[in-house]
């Protein structure tokens, strides 16, 4: 394993991570809920789930965050190298998978591990492993 020292940004990663933790803490302690983004968004698509206003507010906050950032300065680069067909397949798999698995990087990864849930640990290890294998296959076997 070779570490990409020029890409590695431990302090930015740690401070951004702390902000994500603070956001999850606000949502947990004020709204009494897990800040699981796939669940919050998915619940909007299932009207029987209820809570449309806070769901829209949370998702709206995520979408508005870069706009708020732009009021103070330039956004850091967002590099999307996947092509359109890959993005469509990726989106479908992420949408289906997170709903079947009841969570994503935020709900299982951040919140689930924070509450020491074994179920979320299993989910996190599963999607991380699948992510590692997928990138290995795409970059090192198919050589895309």
């Amino acid at each position: 394993m070779t570490i990409a020292w020029s890409d590695f940004t431990p302090w930015a990663a740690l401070s951004g991570g702390i902000l994500i933790g603070v956001a999850a803490a606000i949502f947990l302690l004020f709204n009494g809920r897990i800040a699981g983004i796939s669940g919050i968004l998915g619940g909007l698509l299932t009207p029987s789930q209820g809570g449309a206003s806070w769901r829209i507010a949370f998702v709206g906050g995520l979408i508005a965050a870069p706009l708020l950032w732009l009021a103070f300065g330039a956004l850091p680069p967002i590099e999307i190298n996947a092509g359109y067909p890959a993005l469509i397949v990726a989106g479908l798999l992420v949408g289906l998978g997170t709903r079947y698995g009841s969570g994503c990087t935020s709900g299982h990864g951040v919140c689930g591990l924070s509450r020491l849930s074994v179920r979320s640990l299993v989910a996190t290890l599963s999607f991380m492993a699948a992510g590692f294998v997928t990138v290995f296959v795409i970059r090192h076997i198919l050589g895309v």
Binding site: N31, I37, P76, Y84, A90, G91, V94
Partner: protein, 141 residues
């Protein structure tokens, strides 16, 4: 009203955190998932930072029956480890590895005006709707 405002603030802070951490950039996420290439460990530090705060928040939450706004605490109780959990998470991980997007960063990049992120998010919502349709059919059967 207060509940909606708290959700908006949580969403905003979450999004800012994703931008600060570099996780709104799929190429940086893929740098973490590419163990065999030049590996960028940043994502592990993002998770670490978030979990440190999360551990404190959940230890406070566990001692409460109502939230600060007087709402019922809705913390998942399920401990069930089944095929749905593992299979769903594996499918999610494959999608994550293809484009480097998970749901949060997809929404943030959409807000930043990235057309490709809009395609990803639209397709992700399509996947979620498909899930609902399949579930409904299963219940009806």
């Amino acid at each position: 009203m207060k509940q909606t405002l708290a959700a908006l603030i949580a969403g905003l802070v979450f999004g800012i955190g994703l931008i600060v951490s570099g996780m709104a950039n799929p190429e940086k996420v893929l740098g973490f998932l590419d163990l065999a290439g030049l590996w960028d460990p940043s994502l592990a530090f993002v998770m670490g930072g978030a979990i440190i705060v999360g551990l404190v928040a959940f230890s406070v939450a566990r001692r409460r029956t109502l939230s600060f706004l007087g709402l019922k605490m809705n913390i998942p109780q399920s401990n069930q480890i089944d095929k749905r959990l593992v299979f769903g998470s594996l499918v999610f991980g494959i999608g994550w590895g293809i484009a480097g997007f998970c749901p949060g960063p997809g929404l943030v990049a959409l807000g930043a005006g990235e057309g490709k992120a809009a395609v990803f998010v639209a397709s992700m919502i399509g996947g979620m709707i498909l899930f609902d349709l399949l579930e409904r059919r299963k219940k009806a059967a």
